[in-house]
């Protein structure tokens, strides 16, 4: 027997005045499956929802169509009504008769409204329920890395009540963070002590990840520590392996004592026994690596320090000074006010070592003149690269890297700290985010995301909304190769035939697999071929 569909129409408190609702009701009543049609306005307010709820109950409505505004705004509201009435929230469609009909067309649109409702009804007739289920998840988290961001993340996760393992390649935590300490005044040692004293944090160092498998809530990780291999289970993984820097220098200049890195300059500035203060200092910035946020911060800080402490003449040769992060604009202004000279050039200046001095030849594009400068110390430009293990780890985790070799965010605008694989997150340097405020934002977003996912020990998710029919699957591996979320695996059904299987927890319901399956073995409830084609076929019928 045909299921009973209830159609609810709303005219948004009378704002849809180019529709003849009586005519609409007359037409819609004739549609197959429609057993009830109600005009309630406004439907989305308490009173409307109450009427809708009681109507669903009284008339034993099994599926619902709402003809009103856009589902973008109100779908969840009406879905809730369905659920309160004991119906499955997926047995529901909306016909957008407001934003996409009444408001964009002049004159009477009754005909189009009827057609939009028809489309929604024909889709709704085919809809099938989708169940929700609680999937239990492991509440432990693995943080890979031992630097500032990893330690910070581990501490915050532990405070959020999640047991955390900190896995570091080196024997001690907190190496390679001097630059940050100098720039930002963090006391890494205190943080390391705190981690060590935290009962909720286990430290594995030196250790490395050698294999991972599984999915969000249930990752199996094999770890090599000392001479032995251990297996652990985690609910989520956090990668905070940081970055490394490389001096952008011709090889013959590399050994020159007067050409230094930012870090070396920091040490010189702090050294009480430094005998000769450099009188002229040159900096290079933004020529070899355009991602120069961190180098810019370091250059400005160090230029100011040199000016203030030594009274040196400071010249910054740059292509651009990027002042887009916190504090930098102010620092730049301060540096200018103190007399730091910024010389803008399109091409990298020529650098030569001569009699213990450094000669720099550049063409300033504002002055339009050649500049020849001899300085005592040149601070070379530093290129930022992903840490050494990034490549190996990305293939172990099966996640992508971007064109510069850093980990690729799933979607830099929308899910900046998530990888394409649900449950694996990145923080800071390893994803190319290098200045401190951004790193701290990363840490917080990751901790919040993981807390949301794992804290209750359960994840509520839809069951088999997107599903592979094992009978039809020919194991061509297309879906497994193309799933952008890495949510599909090849499994053996009862130890026999191999087929693709979609992990409900990892699936983001995009439907790309359903579109590409050559055997049409994948169904996506709500957007099955039948449901989409039912709408297509209804168009223009009236």
């Amino acid at each position: 027997m045909e299921t009973k569909i209830g159609v609810f129409i709303c005219n948004c408190s009378g704002t849809l005045n180019n529709i003849d609702f009586d005519a609409v009701v007359k037409k819609v009543v004739e549609l197959p499956g429609v057993t009830s049609i109600k005009f309630i306005s406004p439907l989305c307010l308490e009173e409307g929802k109450k009427k809708m709820l009681s109507c669903i109950r009284e008339e034993n409505i099994e599926k619902v169509v709402v003809a009103a505004c856009s589902p973008e705004f109100k779908e969840h509201v009406f879905r809730e009504v369905l659920e309160n009435a004991g119906l499955n929230g997926h047995l529901f469609s909306m016909a957008n008769i407001k934003e996409q009909c009444s408001w964009v067309h002049e004159g009477d649109v009754t005909g189009k409204v009827v057609e939009l409702i028809k489309m929604a009804v024909s889709r709704t007739r085919l809809l099938q329920p989708v169940k929700m289920n609680n999937f239990s998840v492991n509440r432990e988290v693995l943080v890979v890395g031992g630097g500032f961001e990893a330690i910070n993340a581990a501490l915050q996760l532990s405070r959020a009540g999640l047991r955390t393992t900190l896995l570091e390649r080196e024997a001690v935590l907190g190496t390679g963070t001097t630059e940050l300490e100098n720039l930002c005044g963090f006391d890494i040692n205190a943080m390391v002590m705190e981690v060590k004293g935290d009962e909720n944090i286990e430290i594995l160092a030196p250790a490395e990840v050698i294999e991972t498998s599984g999915k969000i809530g249930d990752f199996n990780v094999r770890i090599r520590k000392g001479g032995e291999e251990i297996s652990r289970k985690y609910g989520a993984l956090v990668i905070a392996t940081g970055y490394q820097t490389k001096l952008a220098l011709e090889s013959k200049l590399k050994s020159d004592v007067n050409i230094v890195s930012q870090e070396k300059l920091c040490h010189m500035l702090e050294d009480p026994e430094l005998r000769i203060r450099p009188r002229t200092i040159g900096f290079m910035l933004d020529f070899a690596d355009e991602n120069s946020r961190l180098p810019t911060l370091a250059t400005l800080n160090n230029a100011l320090a040199a000016k203030r402490k030594w009274g040196s003449e400071v010249y910054v040769f740059c292509k651009n000074v990027k002042v887009d992060s916190e504090r930098i604009e102010r620092l730049y202004q301060e540096a200018r006010d103190c007399g730091v000279m910024f010389l803008k050039s399109d091409v990298s200046p020529k650098v030569a070592a001569e009699n213990g001095k450094i000669k720099i030849e550049a063409k300033d594009i504002f002055l339009g003149e050649d500049i020849n400068l001899t300085c005592d110390v040149l601070v070379a430009e530093e290129c930022l690269l992903p840490a050494e293990e990034t490549e190996a780890l990305s293939s172990i985790l099966n996640i992508r890297r971007d064109s510069r070799g850093f980990y690729q965010d799933e979607n830099v605008h929308l899910y900046p700290v998530a990888s394409e694989k649900k449950g694996i997150f990145f923080i800071g340097g390893c994803r190319g985010n290098l200045d401190l405020s951004r790193v701290l934002t990363d840490v917080s977003s990751v901790v919040v995301s993981i807390y949301k996912l794992l804290s209750s020990g359960n994840i509520l998710a839809e069951v088999e909304r997107v599903k592979v029919d094992p009978q039809k699957c020919v194991a061509c591996l297309t879906c497994i190769r193309i799933c952008p979320h890495n949510a599909i695996q090849l499994v053996r059904v009862d130890g026999g035939k191999e087929v693709a299987e979609i992990c409900d927890l990892a699936c983001e319901a995009c439907g790309i697999c359903a579109a590409m399956c050559p055997a049409k073995a994948i169904t996506f409830q709500g957007y099955r071929d039948e449901e989409i084609l039912a709408q297509v076929e209804t168009i223009g019928e009236s």
Partner: protein, 219 residues
Amino acid sequence: MIIAERKPMDEIKRMLAPYKKVLVAGCGTCVTVCWAGGEKEVAILASQLRLARSAEHNEISIFEASVERQCEREMVAEIKDKVTEVEAVISLACGAGVQTMSEMFEDKPVFPGVNTTFIGMPEKEGLWVEMCGACGDCFLDRTGGICPIVRCAKGLLNGPCGGTRKGGKCEIDPDKDCAWVLIYRRLEKQGRLDLMRNYYAPKNYRAVKRPGRIQAAKA
């Protein structure tokens, strides 16, 4: 696996021009995996044909069906009812499938909708490369598991030729690897480079009797 690709529409239209009731028959094995003749492709071709014919005001009614393997008589028999209803069949299976259909339904013309091209493997999704020429006299033991007969543009048994490009690419197509460079590297890894010194006499392709016929030993 057998790799095929859809024939150009012109050819298909020409084959089906005289008929008004046609069955588009897919196959659920190799041609499904290589995106040429599975259920999805059947639906697309059927739709495209209907559009073409309605534009010509020469309506056609099309049935769609797919079987698991068109090269099996028993499986083809499953769609017998549909075949009896139509005037012609266009099969999206490989040559073996088309012929099985043809043999099963001798009174009906069965047309090939795909060109069966080679035996290959996927390099990534949607890209298949030739791996085996089905020569009937396998040579892979001597070449580190890389077949020069199909993967060398010239099919050389004694390679490489003088034209290998820098980076181990083929002189005929700089996008393709020189099979003999691959073979050298593979044998090097296995410590079997001495095999490169062997001379192999021209292959006697006539050793493969046509039509091929294989009787499994214990059947």
